[in-house]
């Protein structure tokens, strides 16, 4: 494994920037320019890159879809949120239709925001492609078929051109798939969710979204620390503040940035990516959340090795 690409990072529901959001960004950029002139496009580009991320960029709005790039020829993808649409387009652009590919897709759970991109995942319509959908829910195949059934969707599942297979995995057991060991783990979420630990010969990535952590449950905490142990990257559901997660949004099945830092520090993970962003949070709020979480890591580090804290955004590419 050498890269992770985030195609969709938003929780619960895809969102898009509004006209007013874009206008605010333009206003902020022009205010920062303060009458400067730029002789070349490159100079302009440098200025834009110097602006805060919340002005020059956006965290994006697609729901969960993450690609783990392996050295082998087969593709590894976590979840089929709406980010699966640009992912599919990128694969078609790169490989073309007449070049069959194998896609391994790991599904955390069957809630719609994690499946809704599949009907827009272009490789599924191309004969010759092979798509293996891995998961731990018994209703895995039915959930995929159901969302493409009339009257919910105009194209029936039977119109898929690719060969689609379903692989029911066993939690807590290592599954050797195309050169990577994949271990699923049951997580606390309504209807159950599963995290996945991907281990190659030299790198470990953990995908853990839609998971609530009950702070009083010490055995569950330790199991989670073991699951994250020494990971190069942990992708973590940090949808709520801790105050929300233990009060008004308790039992809603999500976690916080504070618990992300605590668990990853205890697990001696190298890097954590805040993920499954709250749809109500705009770019400024998410940027602030990242800064606060980095500060929290700094002041609570103690004798731990530094943990790099990042916040995932659509199109982010991480070198492992």
């Amino acid at each position: 494994m050498n890269q992770v690409i985030f195609w969709g990072t938003r929780g619960s529901l895809p969102v898009a920037l509004s006209r007013n959001d874009v206008r605010e960004k333009v206003l902020a950029a022009l205010t920062a320019a303060n009458g400067k002139t730029f002789k070349t496009r490159s100079a302009l580009g440098e200025f834009v890159d110097s602006l805060p991320f919340s002005v020059a960029g956006t965290f994006g709005g697609n729901s969960a879809c993450v690609e783990i790039v392996h050295t082998g020829p087969e593709h590894f993808i976590c979840d089929m949120g709406s980010g699966a649409r640009p992912l599919g387009q990128a694969k078609i652009a790169r490989y073309g239709a007449p070049n069959p590919q194998t896609y391994h897709i790991f599904i955390s759970h069957l809630h719609w925001d994690h499946l809704m991109g599949f009907p827009y995942f272009a490789p599924m319509y191309i004969p010759g492609n092979r798509i293996v959908i891995h998961g731990c829910h018994k209703q895995l195949e039915e959930a995929f078929r159901m969302q493409m059934r009339s009257p919910s969707f105009p194209v029936d599942y039977s119109q898929a051109g690719a060969q689609i297979e379903f692989d029911l995995m066993t939690p807590n057991k290592a599954h050797f798939i195309a050169g990577i060991n994949v271990i699923p783990k049951l997580q606390l979420h309504l209807g159950d969710s599963y995290g996945y630990r991907f281990e190659s010969t030299n790198r470990t990535v953990v995908y853990s979204t839609d998971s609530e952590h009950k702070l009083e449950d010490l055995p569950a905490r330790q199991a989670c620390v073991d699951f994250f142990a020494k990971a190069d990257l942990v992708i973590f559901d940090a949808m709520y503040s801790l105050a929300e997660a233990v009060s008004v949004k308790a039992d809603w099945g999500h976690s916080s940035n504070v618990v992300a830092v605590e668990l990853c520090q205890a697990a001696q993970a190298k890097r954590v990516a805040l993920f499954h962003h709250e749809p109500m949070h705009d770019d400024r709020q998410l940027s602030r959340l990242l800064k606060e979480t980095q500060r929290l890591e700094q002041i609570t580090r103690g004798t731990h090795q530094p943990l790099e804290v990042i916040s995932a955004y659509d199109d982010l590419i991480i070198e492992l």
């Binding site: 702070l215 009083e216 801790l242 105050a243 504070v258 002041i299």
Partner: protein, 115 residues
């Protein structure tokens, strides 16, 4: 965990010490629980003096949340005072400052809460 208490201006001031993390938070909870049992409209407000607390984790914050909820359900007053700067930061980052009354000092809290 034994928590020492004193009465000041009609407020029950509870002194908390050390680190409140996932290991010590249950002990903190068991020490605090009997004090919260008596936190009601008829009894003095309960104020936690955090001036000797060096660190609080999510598990410790959860104990505070449970105590606050119980106090509210009994129509009692519950608050925290004298947070060290680092603990204050953790409260702010976790957004506990939005849901938990925090005072700059025990004296300030007693002026507001005391009878």
């Amino acid at each position: 965990m034994i928590l020492s208490t004193r009465e000041q201006s009609g407020v029950l001031v509870v002194c908390v010490n050390g680190r409140l993390d996932h290991v010590t938070s249950e002990l903190f909870n068991s020490g605090l629980s009997p004090l919260i049992d008596r936190c009601s409209q008829e009894n003095p407000p309960v104020l936690l003096d955090f001036s000797n607390v060096d660190y609080i984790s999510s598990a410790g914050l959860r104990v505070l949340m449970m105590a606050s909820n119980r106090a509210k359900s009994q129509k009692g007053a519950f608050a925290i005072a004298a947070l060290k700067p680092l603990v204050q930061e953790i409260f702010a980052i976790s957004r506990f400052t939005l849901i938990m009354p925090c005072y700059i000092s025990v004296e300030t809290a007693c002026k507001v809460l005391g009878k």
